[in-house]
Symmetry: C2
Subunit: 275 residues, 2 copies
């Protein structure tokens, strides 16, 4: 596997500062967020990453279908198609897909799941046409209200089974580590050639915020070695992407943060005796 860093990890930095910092540290890939790329300029971003000798390792995010309510689904599907086009233009190997949470003012989780599934099926047709794989990401169950009604690997695998070609999974240790069926879910995804990207970050023992208190790999309670070996054992040899949402880390020294990430991931990037 090769290390990449998601630009949200150094959220305070602009696109240029992030690329400069990652490149200076020898990191080969950067994952980009749509709004930041559009603000900075698409052509400028492409040139910057290319000139730095780096790759765009991923794109965030396609989806959020339920966010604007039932009447807004069409608009979200259109926006998702545009996001897919942008991801393709940037040369991203896949677009991370987060389907959205409950509909506003609704408690009907089944309804939200049906609407998000159907919207995803529509966007997938377009993604197939432009040959940009969608990486469906099951999020931790605590994000069901706002972010994703897809909450487990088993559920995401089942959606992929029903959707067919052109869609796979984004596997993020933070979201799946707790799941007694995580290993089965990863192996099942591996058999289908469905692991499109692998995200690494850690669950801090004393988590203070549902969204913005994730940890540097090694600073939490997740057995990251186990998950690295599992995806590698499934034949995955793509990016190992560090993606960390953390107000604390965002406020600190960003160069030191990248150094800490390099130190933490170095042993994980090496094969050891476990596989």
């Amino acid at each position: 596997m090769k290390l990449s860093v998601n630009q949200i990890t150094t959220s305070r930095l602009g696109v240029e500062e992030a690329v400069d910092l990652y490149a200076a540290k020898g990191i080969g890939g950067i994952s980009l967020w749509e709004d930041r790329v559009r603000d900075f300029g698409i052509a400028r971003t492409k040139a910057l990453v290319r000139d730095a000798g780096m790759d765009v390792s991923g794109f965030c995010i396609v989806g959020m279908f339920s966010k604007q309510g039932r009447a807004g689904i069409g608009k979200q599907v259109d926006a998702a198609r545009a996001s897919v086009d942008l991801a393709a233009e940037l040369g991203a190997p896949c677009a991370v897909t987060v389907v959205g949470g409950l509909l506003p003012d609704s408690r009907d989780i089944g309804d939200a799941r049906r609407l998000c599934f159907d919207a995803l099926a529509e966007v997938l047709e377009h993604a197939r046409a432009v040959q940009l794989p969608l990486a469906l990401e099951p999020l931790h169950p605590m994000y069901v209200p706002d972010w994703s009604v897809v909450a487990t690997l088993a559920q995401a695998n089942s959606w992929c089974d029903r959707l067919g070609a052109g869609i796979g999974l984004a596997i993020d240790t933070y979201h799946i580590w707790w799941d007694p069926e995580a290993e089965d879910g990863i192996r099942s995804a591996g058999r289908e050639g469905r692991i499109l990207t692998f995200h690494l970050n850690d669950w801090r023992a004393e988590t203070r915020s549902l969204l913005l208190d994730r940890g540097i790999p090694g600073d939490g309670v997740i057995d990251l070695r186990r998950f690295v070996d599992l995806v590698r054992g499934c034949g995955y040899d793509g990016w190992m992407e560090v993606e960390i949402f953390s107000e604390t880390l965002w406020a600190g020294d960003q160069t030191r943060l990248i150094d800490d990430i390099l130190r933490a991931t170095a042993p994980l990037l090496k094969r050891d005796g476990h596989v």
Copy 2:
């Protein structure tokens, strides 16, 4: 179903104040916490609840096997046996069982699961002997590090299958509402006559704390009607217990809180056309 309130819901009140308040409001059941009962006195608690014309509807908690580390498992098993005896003495219909999280200084979730399972099997033998059913409670996945390596209904059902007689489930809406397999899990538990208690509280849309920001039924995003109808459809007609951990609600007027709970649960206690 009959309404009960878990005393943690009015955490600031002592045993006597809580019983007085609940009884004055016509609530038939109170669920008790071991440390509070022992502090107040076991015989005094029994007399108080009986004289108020109420029932002990539940007991918290048996378990936390992993809390003191591997060397402390035996001690935790002994403590759990004593908890079971206390629950039986109080006349509780079951003892809520929370198995514990990761072992301190360990990331091995499989190891924690094996140790907790084996410890639970030991305690179950004693619970059978004193005829006190254990109600295994799967907690929300965000509590895996500290509270419970049992995180889904499917997993809890599987443990019950392996453990045999004398153990069933505590189903709490807050912990299971997000799960795409929740309905299957409840129906499966129902078929086995395994639903021992049913807890009601709500997931607030803007949850600020992992532990202490739960909502009064109706103040959050859970489709509570659906779950009430589901457990009722499985033949469950025991306590509907309101259990809320919330710093905000604990700090407020406790009488008004109980009034709000009564208002919120009144429609849920009635059968409607949905079943």
